[in-house]
Symmetry: C2
Subunit: 434 residues, 2 copies
């Protein structure tokens, strides 16, 4: 069938057959189908959506557009973890060492910061010497030795997704649930995993602003996994304020270290432990989820998660001493306090604004070509629910250049909502989809 007829049928909300979606994805990957036809198709998907059968077929075609990273030579059950992206979200660096320390093999294929959300690779690269550009063979041998290794997406892994993502970015077709689901799952499943734990963020700081959308995304990804014989569980977690206190690459590594030593923020600790427990459970280390929760807790308390991360940092060329001596990490040259003139209760901290402000002073990227300043960011001094007096410090902005600082400070200041009434605590983990 001609490409234009496939576009027309999707436009008219018809279901395309698996082989028709494969024809589209393969043709686009090879360059036979031009960007303009794919752009029209993506916009049609934005409006018409996709059935579960369609999204699974598209994911499979995207997954098979490159080579599959075969990990069958490594003993043990392989479980990856993925977050849809949030502000201050450093759970990957906490949950994955705890899971690996418990016996799960954790092949982490991680992403980079874009827009107001951070990326695990950028956080790791704030550690002097840390290399994320491993070859697949190096990745495999580190995984065999340490049960945990971090790598970025290579050109061989799901190249169709790389090409599609770049096109979506410039055609206003990023925010489509089936397109997000197929993008995430095609990359993840291009590695021979056994299971996957997803953290679907919802709230002002996340791609998904509404819980109903987050649920649909989670259900779609779990369904894709099921059809491809992978066990997938998804947590839907709140991103209406940044996670933890630190936002910014080196600042977040410091908070990771504190959390793995059990002196981290309670929200970050809670979500990281639950994610680790799900990884341990899906990795069949324990028989029940409750046992997996106990195991995760124990590996946090006995410091084995912390030591695991240290080992992996060393194995990937980084300086492991950074976890104890924060002065070895890139440090900001200036700090600006943001204070409040009013007393009351913190009722909201707009995560998107905090993320944008951090990106503005160099912690993130507005375009893929931007370089990151690992030292800069924001450290919150208060969290939602906390009582504050007039003159209290709300947060500190850490910077290395005063460019955009004033603009960022205004954005940060406006991010805080203060109410006269005490604020009810919100649930952190809103739902589990499995």
């Amino acid at each position: 069938m001609r490409t234009v007829d496939l576009i027309r049928r999707k436009r008219d909300a018809e279901e395309l057959a698996p082989e028709e979606l494969q024809q589209l994805i393969d043709g686009y990957t090879r360059g036979d189908i031009p960007d303009y036809q794919m752009a029209a198709f993506l916009m049609a998907v934005f409006y018409s959506g996709m059935t579960d059968r369609e999204v699974s077929a598209m994911t499979e075609s995207m997954m098979n557009s490159g080579s599959i990273v075969d990990l069958s030579s490594i003993p043990g059950i392989k479980v990856d973890k993925h977050s849809t992206g949030g502000v201050g979200d450093k759970t990957s660096l906490i949950a994955s060492p705890i899971a690996a320390a418990s016996g799960v093999v954790v092949p982490m294929i991680s992403g980079r910061a874009l827009g107001h959300t951070g990326g695990t690779l950028d956080k790791l690269e704030s550690i002097p010497g840390f290399r994320t550009d491993l070859s697949i063979d190096e990745f495999r041998s580190l995984l065999a030795e340490h049960k945990l290794a971090f790598i970025g997406q290579t050109e061989e892994i799901a190249p169709a997704d790389g090409k599609l993502y770049a096109l979506r970015d410039v055609t206003a077709t990023v925010e489509s649930i089936p397109l997000i689901a197929s993008s995430i799952m095609s990359k993840k499943l291009a590695v021979s995993l056994d299971a996957l734990v997803l953290d679907v963020k919802v709230g002002s700081g996340a791609f998904m602003k509404k819980q109903v959308d987050a649920r649909r995304l989670a259900q779609m990804m779990v369904g894709i996994g099921r059809r491809l014989d992978k066990r997938v569980q998804a947590l839907i977690t709140d991103m209406n304020q940044p996670l933890g206190y630190a936002i910014g690459n080196a600042l977040e590594v410091m908070e990771v270290s504190q959390t793995l030593q059990n002196v981290g923020p309670s929200d970050l600790t809670r979500i990281s432990l639950e994610l680790a427990a799900r990884m341990i459970y899906l990795g069949k280390i324990t028989k029940t989820l409750d046992e997996a929760r106990e195991t995760a807790q124990a590996k946090l308390l006995d410091g084995s998660g912390y030591r695991k991360l240290k080992d992996v940092i060393q194995a990937q060329g980084g300086d492991p001493r950074v976890l104890d001596r924060f002065e070895l990490l890139p440090n900001a040259t200036g700090a600006q306090e943001i204070t409040t003139s009013r007393g009351g209760y913190v009722s909201g901290i707009d995560a998107e604004s905090i993320g944008q402000a951090s990106a503005m002073i160099g912690a993130g990227r507005n375009t893929k070509e931007d370089t990151i300043d690992p030292a800069v960011g924001v450290i919150l001094e208060v969290k939602v629910g906390q009582k504050i007096d007039p003159g209290s410090i709300l947060c500190r902005i850490y910077y290395t250049s005063e460019e955009h600082l004033e603009e960022a400070a205004e954005l940060v200041e406006d991010a805080f909502r203060i109410s006269q009434q005490p604020v009810e605590e919100r649930d952190l983990i809103l739902e589990v989809v499995s």
Copy 2:
């Protein structure tokens, strides 16, 4: 504003400002905005539609993307006529000579056949010697002398439309009312017209299958004209069976000649006269529409419409004798009769199927690169409402090659619906929008 933000806002059904639409059209015409962004925008318009203000602004930008054909040196009021395209629709070749013979200046910028619908230029080019590739200066001087001349769209006229149309064709975004309206009106108004009469076809043989869509298209085009200070009237006419009896280029020229001699089919005569009357009225030749109808009728009966077409054929290099001696036109080498095995009343003749069958044997184009065989086509022997006996001839297919003939014959045969009950006559002119 960045192009991706304009796409996003249209995607979310926001109204774009005139200068934003101009930025899009200008950027696309210059090549600064790539095809893939425009494709996503067009699909967003397909779903989100456009307000009247948007469609007018976009039309104006498209109209101004090339040079405006200035006809101010030619005395008289300039009125063009446009049909949205149908099967057997040769009204332009009848209404425009009648209007010109009545004193209206008629600068006909005509199109070519595409898909199952015919094009005026192809019909004219079936006349040996007829040239449609006039320069703008030749066009102007022929218009001054004869008040009527035919030309194709040149690259200087609304180049944005040419580029957009080619893109819509391959991205399944042809069938969008605001995109159709802006495409037609930008081309027409790139000539300094005073008024325009539109024939919006509705039914199986037309782009618009439903009257409500045809009405919306007509209203949109009339509105665009009003905002640009042009008087525009639109007839909504039935295309549930071919117009007249002849379908195919030379065959239609023959029927034009008969109709201009007042021995043509009644449906074709009726619509052509009404279109001519509207042109005469908007051309201010008469004070009232009824007087204009009388004038049109008179110019048909006294043969001055017929003589006008003959003069113009001669002026554009064609052999005017073809209007009397049909053997001077390209002639088919074979004819196949399609008969019916059942008697009854003809209750429907699917115009799209007849158009497709004609195109299949060479009368039309499936791609812009196809060449036309001017001799071939279909001549109906019956029209809707007619009583027929078993064995009656329904139509004849005129061909020059047997390639695709059998396929075309099947399509033609299936196009006829025969009922046992007499059929109510349908209105030909369904609505007037002005």
